[in-house]
């Protein structure tokens, strides 16, 4: 068989790519079947661009900080101020675009911590389904799930100093149990499958079974939930900053801008409406994208 070694290496390259390509084509077909998911993808891409290139896009980058220009205060939307200006003369458009940055950063940080923690705990509880380990992990999870999410986050954020860091921490603490629940259900059903039984019978380590056999089968619901959750984390962050527990002025945040503008309604409607549209833009985008990803991983259908 030794002569085959080179052939194998050559085959490795030649054989893997066509099927991977084929898979991508199937995924793309399933994703694009629904027009809304493509729309979502476009919104999400735009949000990413806004967040990354905020400095280059906005007309008045200096309006983000402590900037006052009473001469141009409270102006309605116009050619030079697309979304108008606020009571201190700052450009609303520039500030809204900058909010994308904070909102995305928050969702990335929250999910980057909550998803691995939740997934790992769910995986362990699901694999040891029906044992004490399962009971301990899942009851703790249930305790977190039983308190309304927003209230829990408000409590945590108000105990700590109100700033961006602590609001992220608060949202993270209430976010991981959802993943534990999700992965738990998936993992406990997967661990009944015969390929897991076979790995056990062969004598593979628990680590191997959890990470190599069970985890890959849980990934598609995790990814789907993640895409949907980005929107919800942004909403949660906006709620916290609306009551003053998020990003502190002068740095702009969606919730804070909406709440500031609320006192000038309805005369200076642009101060509230445009940040609200910004939030809606992101949440819609991520929700549609999430639906598209769910369809993509959906095994049935033609």
């Amino acid at each position: 068989m030794s002569g085959d070694v080179n052939m194998t290496a050559a085959k490795k390259k030649g054989l893997l790519s066509p099927s991977a390509k084929e898979n991508l084509r199937i995924y793309w077909y399933k994703f694009t079947r629904n027009r809304l998911s493509v729309f979502g993808l476009i919104l999400v891409c735009l949000s990413l661009l806004f967040a990354i290139f905020a400095k280059q896009i906005v007309p008045y980058p200096e309006h983000i900080g402590t900037f006052v220009d009473y001469a141009n205060a409270s102006q309605a939307p116009s050619g030079s101020y697309w979304f108008g200006t606020d009571q201190m003369g700052r450009d609303v458009f520039s500030r809204v675009i900058y909010c994308f940055r904070g909102a995305l950063l928050m969702s990335v940080v929250v999910l980057a911590i909550a998803v691995p923690v939740g997934t790992l705990l769910g995986l362990i509880a699901g694999y040891y389904h029906g044992t004490k380990i399962d009971t301990v992990i899942m009851r703790i999870t249930d305790v977190f799930l039983s308190v309304p999410a927003l209230i829990l986050a408000l409590c945590i954020a108000s105990i700590l100093k109100p700033n961006m860091m602590n609001s992220m921490l608060a949202v993270t603490i209430m976010w991981w149990p959802w993943y534990t629940r999700l992965v738990y259900g998936q993992a406990s059903s997967i661990s009944g499958e015969y390929f897991v039984k076979n790995a056990e019978l062969v004598g593979a380590s628990k680590m191997h079974i959890m990470l190599k056999e069970i985890l890959p089968n849980c990934l598609s619901p995790i990814f789907t939930k993640m895409a949907l959750d980005v929107g919800w984390v942004i909403l949660m962050g906006a709620s916290l900053s609306f009551v003053g527990l998020g990003e502190q002025p002068p740095t702009p945040a969606f919730g804070q801008m909406i709440s500031d503008g609320a006192s000038y309604m309805p005369d200076m409607w642009w101060m509230t409406i445009f940040p609200a549209v910004g939030v809606a833009f992101m949440i819609l985008g991520f929700n549609f994208l999430g639906d598209g990803i769910r369809d993509m991983f959906d095994k049935g259908g033609h």
Binding site: Y29, K30, H302
Partner: protein, 341 residues
Amino acid sequence: MAEKVLNIQDLSIWYKTYRGMSKVVDHIDMFVNKGEKVGLVGESGCGKTTTMKTILRVIDKDIIHVPNGTVEFNGKNVLKMNKDELLELRRKGASMISQSPMSALNPVFTIGEQLFDIIKFSGQYPKATKAEMIEVAKQAITSVMLSDPDRIMDSYPHQLSGGMRQRICIASSLVTPRDLLIADEPCTALDVTIQDQIHRMLRELVEEKGRSLIMITHSLGVARELVDRIYIMYGGNIVESCRTQDLFDNPSHPYTVGLMECVPRLSGGGLSAGIYGYVPDYVNPPEGCRFCPRCKDAKEICKKKRPPKVEISPEHFVSCFKYAGASASQSEEEGGAEKHE
């Protein structure tokens, strides 16, 4: 000439997939006479269930495309029926018994409630009182040889065994008089001793009322014991059709021959080698005969041209070039089955 309950002519059914049209059923002809039991035999993925679902129009219109062919049920074209006619067909004309008795019944309603719904919406008993409906339901349950109908009507599906559930499915399709019963592998999920009982019962129910039956199955043995006439289906084509006895005395299409060799015999005698290969890719099916890539007797012509339908003995049709030479004159006619009936 017997009256035809179902007459399918030159029917093709395509599925829409991301790779293009999947030509799952390809120019098939088939008919069922009144009071006749017909078997449709083929392996998984040969298009037998798709064909039957199309007859009842239960496939979502968005995913299939019927480029040509007609399906006549009691003289009316099913494919052109409007909503009301279709409802009429499903209520009184034909019904289908599905493969999985586990999922055919709703788990949250009792058997009685489900049967009442069927009786109510069948349109057969417009002014029935509750007591009359119970009577009809009880009769249906006793007709499938289940004792103690009262207890069964009060049970939920999960309280019954697989065999009992399948009997209930059959009962529910018989509460109204039907002309045609389509049984889609009704016993694959059941044990052999239960299968035997259900087959005996099906046969009695069909014969007693002069109904017609289409039995979809992958087992030649089941077809041999139950039906009068057999269609062998492969890769979306009907490759052979004849009376049951003729098929087992003189299997003619290479696929039929191969299939018969594959069945492990009770009398022993070792195993056959099987038929090498898999069902064709329906998006790009072989240009000529669809069985040709797996066929031992394939010749050049098989790769290029579709084989003609040849009548090798009365009512025995084979689609294969092997038999085309001798009786080429009859072979070219479409719908030959009808003429020689």
